[in-house]
């Protein structure tokens, strides 16, 4: 494919440029085991606390400056809001991403193994203006950060 040659190139400093990742190397769980466990209770929870309790085992968490959330101040379109979460904490086991104002706030969880770089990016739907919350489980404790994202109604049918 010629895909590489014609791709848009932006100057560094653009939002997505240095993104991320999660991951890891060691096999903590076989993929199948995780699949069987898709956490319906957590994803259908109507509140942030219920969702966290269901996915992380607890809701109590400490705000941490070590977690960085990259998300727009104003969403261009609530249907596609680019979000990146990263942290330099060590021993990160998992990351939960929530949109506080959504009907069901939990949007994604990312399970990492030892050696992973806790840095993930995705695009999420936001039903209304609210905080995006990232909760990081590290060393058995929950840490969190939040970032407000304004979701507005466009004038051109957006």
């Amino acid at each position: 494919m010629t895909m590489n040659t014609k791709r848009r190139v932006f100057l560094k400093g653009s939002m997505a440029a240095g993104s991320v990742g999660v991951a890891i190397g060691a096999g903590l769980l076989a993929p199948q085991a995780v699949i069987a466990a898709w956490n319906e209770k957590a994803f259908q929870a109507k509140s942030v606390d219920d969702a966290l309790t269901a996915t992380m085992g607890a809701a109590a968490n400490t705000a941490s400056d070590a977690i960085k959330i990259k998300a727009p101040d104003i969403a261009e379109n609530g249907a596609v809001v680019p979000v990146s979460v990263s942290t330099d904490m060590s021993g990160v086991e998992s990351i939960a991403l929530l949109a506080e104002g959504n009907n069901t706030p939990l949007v994604a969880t990312f399970m990492l193994g030892a050696g992973a770089i806790p840095d993930v990016s995705t695009r999420i739907k936001m039903g209304k203006t609210s905080d995006v919350i990232a909760v990081v489980k590290a060393g058995g404790k929950l840490h969190s950060a939040r970032k407000s994202v304004k979701v507005t109604i466009g004038g051109c049918g957006g």
Binding site: A16, A75, P82, I153
Partner: protein, 282 residues
């Protein structure tokens, strides 16, 4: 601040309007129009290089540009470019392929739209795609979205970097088509009584509710477009239809004379800007 902006807008709008619209469409030449149009946007958005206007509202709105760049990092239209490539390479039932109409290179964007002196009409790339299908006994495609947008995306992608260079030949019929497109552009329509120029010239950079209105300069450069609102690719004429409906006017048929002539005028006004389709928009 708002008032100053408005006043300034009014002044600029008046000058551009007087030269380009309040007179009859036929009173000024394409070359004169181009100059007025350029001067208007240069004054309105000083310091923005011509080619940047090919990025639509992202040329002038930093906040939305951040999201756009994040999306363009791995844009949702990439699979559609591949689908278009497969269409380009797949032979028709008669054994021929799109190359039999367009030549071996899919990088054809720079050749459209153009005035076809024999057919006495503006020919757009989408029209040429369907002409090719029909000439080879294949069924034509819908003009708004889907397969035609996939193929147009592949052809546009292969053409990235080519500059828009739409010529209005010295032919009364060509000039008439251009003037028709120009008249359409400045004609107020719909219950809201807006012209294309009302929003994208006179009010470019201002807000409709929370949307920043994109400058008309460069509007023809990035098609087809994956709009987050659509969740899929669509063509320029699909967007024309949407814009017309948003001012509560009747929309015209995609690839009908009205929109082809409008594209002819609009693309000519963007001469010199690079084709950069496909693109993502909000």
């Amino acid at each position: 601040m708002k008032m100053t902006q408005l006043a300034l807008t009014a002044i600029c709008a008046i000058s551009a309007t007087v030269v380009m619209a309040d007179k009859k469409a036929t009173d000024t030449s394409p070359a004169e129009d181009l100059k007025v149009y350029r001067d208007y946007f240069n004054k309105r958005f000083p310091g923005i290089p011509l080619n940047e206007f090919g990025n639509g509202v992202y040329a002038i709105d930093k906040v939305s540009r951040d999201s756009w760049e994040a999306i363009e990092e791995f844009p949702p239209y990439e699979p559609m470019i591949e689908a278009g490539e497969a269409m380009w390479n797949k032979p028709f039932a008669n054994g021929k392929s799109f190359a039999s109409c367009f030549g071996n290179s899919p990088a054809q964007r720079k050749n459209y739209p153009h005035w076809d002196a024999k057919r006495k009409m503006v020919v757009t790339m989408e029209l040429a795609i369907n002409d090719c299908l029909e000439a080879n006994g294949e069924k034509p495609l819908g003009y708004n979205k889907g397969k035609i947008a996939d193929l147009a995306a592949y052809m546009a992608y292969q053409s990235r970097g080519q500059k828009i260079d739409v010529q209005i030949p010295n032919d009364p019929d060509a000039l008439a088509a251009y003037n028709d497109g120009k008249a359409f552009y400045f004609a107020r329509r719909g219950q809201l009584n807006f012209s294309c120029a009302s929003c994208h010239m006179e009010s470019a950079g201002m807000h409709v509710r929370t949307d920043t209105l994109s400058p008309a300069l460069g509007h023809a450069s990035g098609w087809p477009v994956y709009r987050s609102k659509w969740g899929e690719l669509g063509t320029l004429h699909r967007r024309f239809g949407g814009c017309n409906e948003q001012v509560r006017a009747k929309k015209f048929k995609p690839q009908g004379k009205e929109y082809r002539n409008l594209e002819y005028f609009l693309a000519h006004m963007s001469n010199g800007i690079e084709y950069n389709g496909p693109s993502s928009r909000k």
